[in-house]
Amino acid sequence: MSTSSPPKKIAVSVTGLEKSFGPTRALAGADLVVEAGEIVALMGANGAGKSTLVKILSGSISADAGTILLNGKQVSFASPAEAQAAGVATVHQATDQAGAAGLTVAENLTLNELCGTGSFFVSPRSTRKRAAQIAALIDLDLPLDRDFIDLRPAERQLIAIARAVASKASVLILDEPTSSLSSTEAERLFSVLRRLKASGIAILYISHRTGDLAAIADRAVVLRGGKVVASFAKPIDFSAAVAAMIGRTLDAALHDGMVSSAPILASVKRARLIPGSRPFDLDLRSGEVVAITGTLGSGKSRLLRALFGLEQLAEGSFTLDGKPWLSNGPARSIDNGVFMVAEDRWASSLLPPEIPGASIAGTIALPHLPRWFPLGLLRETRERLAASDAISRLGIKARGPDDTLDQLSGGNQQKVVLARWQAAPCRLLLLDEPFQGVDVGARADLIAAIRNSQSGSATLIATSDTEEALEVADRILVMRDHSLYEADGHHESLAAVIGSVESIETRAAGIQDKHHD
């Protein structure tokens, strides 16, 4: 598997790992080797066994069969603490678990020592001193007195990594580290990872984003059905990797940047999202899919929320179908055919499974109840019909309309949320990070569904992933500091758009950023 370079030390090696949950075989004999100083990308669709493998390696669950060799010694971990002590550190996707709110950056950096191995007495000074040492390990530049709760996801992640490095980890596992990061923040993460790699740490990197993997990974390993089905050395052939991942080829057709001549459906005039930001205009034409990309906190969500009536513009106006449009809340927006799918589907759209109406049918029906059942009496056949239609149209993998959402994978959950808003006539569909935690196969289905429903309505998508934006949109705009910019010229390639995102500020120079590595 390894190349012809001089033999390197194998940091972790997994052979014949098996794990079943009831009748489901999550891992069916997975083999994996990561050398010291190597970054291996672990790819796989939802349910391929990635998270099970990570959980076994990090000690959260134990394997049914198979061996794990760590630096040549056979190990099996009974708890996450044991795995950590043995030198396997894991940085999880959910960054709010990367530290404790209410504690400062310094206290969080030294949390492992505070919670166990350190001395009994701690003073703020000794904590700060130790924290500064730990921060220096990865060149972390954060105010040590800041509360963890005020940190952005990217910064929280770096704290988790610094802690892992400080605990002398030899294997670092990163689970979807960039899912909530903008491209600049991701770039910062990558430079930290490159340093760690140079210092001989083995890194297992799990991600759905091929762009990230191209930038950082030495090797990609594809997991499907609980087994490693393919391995790709650098330069990684991603179309082959994706094909191996979903078991079929995927034509991620980029849509041409032709300017639509359809009538303008909605427009934003001289809008300032926050006082003092640069005003901008935006026209959305009938049948158009427009993506807005940009860093976290640049104002993408704010624009969508303002259009939906959840927030107010500092200045400027909206029109919808030529008439002034100012919504005072979701109810009025929905009545007028302006729909929004907010980010984080469990927080914004879905109900816990014990609640009536948490089924696929109920989830789709929720916003449409007043129109579907004007007399108040529920008729389940009406809901089921809409749900069955959605299941077949979007290819939702479920037993039927009565399945609750927690039984579905992330991609299928997102399909249900999209189906909810496609179940009624729509003028303007606002999607905030619609591909969060969605695997490549389901993403293709979602994109097809978004693009096929475009008769007479406009779609505005906010995403921090430029690759997603390219795949789904007719037109891509970049948001920076609460203002919109057109992406430069025609986007012939992914790199060009990423480049234009990066170079907005230096546009005067007219030079496209070259992407290193």
Binding site: P23, A342, L369
Partner: protein, 339 residues
Amino acid sequence: MTDQATASSSKPASTFAETARKYALFVLLGLMLVGFWSAQPAFINSANLFSILQAVSVVAILGVGVSITMSAGGFDLSVGSVAASSVMAASYAMVVLQLNAFETLGLVLLMGAFIGLVNGLLIVRVGVPDLLATLSTMFLLAGLQLIPTGGRSITAGMMLPNGTTAAGAYDPAFLILGRGRLFDTVPYPVIVMGIVALLAWFLMERTRWGRVFYAIGGNETAAHLAGAPTKAYRLWAYVLSGTLASLGGLIVASRVGRGDVSAGNSLLLDAVAASLIGFAVLDKRRPHVLGTVLGAIFVGVLLNGLTMLNAPYYTQDFVKGVVLVGALALTFGLGKKKR
């Protein structure tokens, strides 16, 4: 594809356990009935069974109100005080103000709705957390009901704080509500309980309004983003709960026939317990009307049977506590592995 395979193959294994959990409370109720019957044959005659239902009717009606607020993500701690205040208000209306039965009914129900509205406004407009808002109205009412009579119970011919004697008396028509029986067998409180339960069940389980109440309780943000007027719904939940609590108070007043200051002392805890026991009924793991009524009946049957077997009255609260702990363990603890 794997989802389907998992689901179908795991189904037979879990079916028995699932069914057992679903009907556990029904089976226990049946066993209890049979057990008490064999120990004390008088237990099963219809007069006794209806007296059980009559005894639980007030708790069940209050419990329905509590479970409606719980389903909308709230909690109404004031129901006991609202019922007690309603007893006093009904007595005051008839004995002091000399109103007739229908005027009294209307006035007291309006008062309950108004208290519910105050609760709701405190929560929705002022932003006080549900438990704290209803806790404070609970105290407020417990004190307020004593003020008009100077802390004394209200009976016909009582001495008023200003030295005069109260001129009115309980309207005989009013007493029918608590003491009368349909066809000389079914007590009216049981019929009221049945109607309340049926209407509330229909509202919560069969209409879109019920669906939205539950959606708000499950995920208020999601309900709001789906266009539901969440604040109005939460307000209505408290108005319904207050109205039902005052209806419960009216039944107590018409049964007792006087305005007793200590009426409704244990009503709050009993009503909350009935709603919580209801979580286990049909393994719903959420507040629901049918479960609440069944929870109230379950406790009523148990207490009645134990009393017939000469269990001392002071063990009653202990028995209720055991049932509640058992039901909650059944709901949340056992069989959690299945997920």
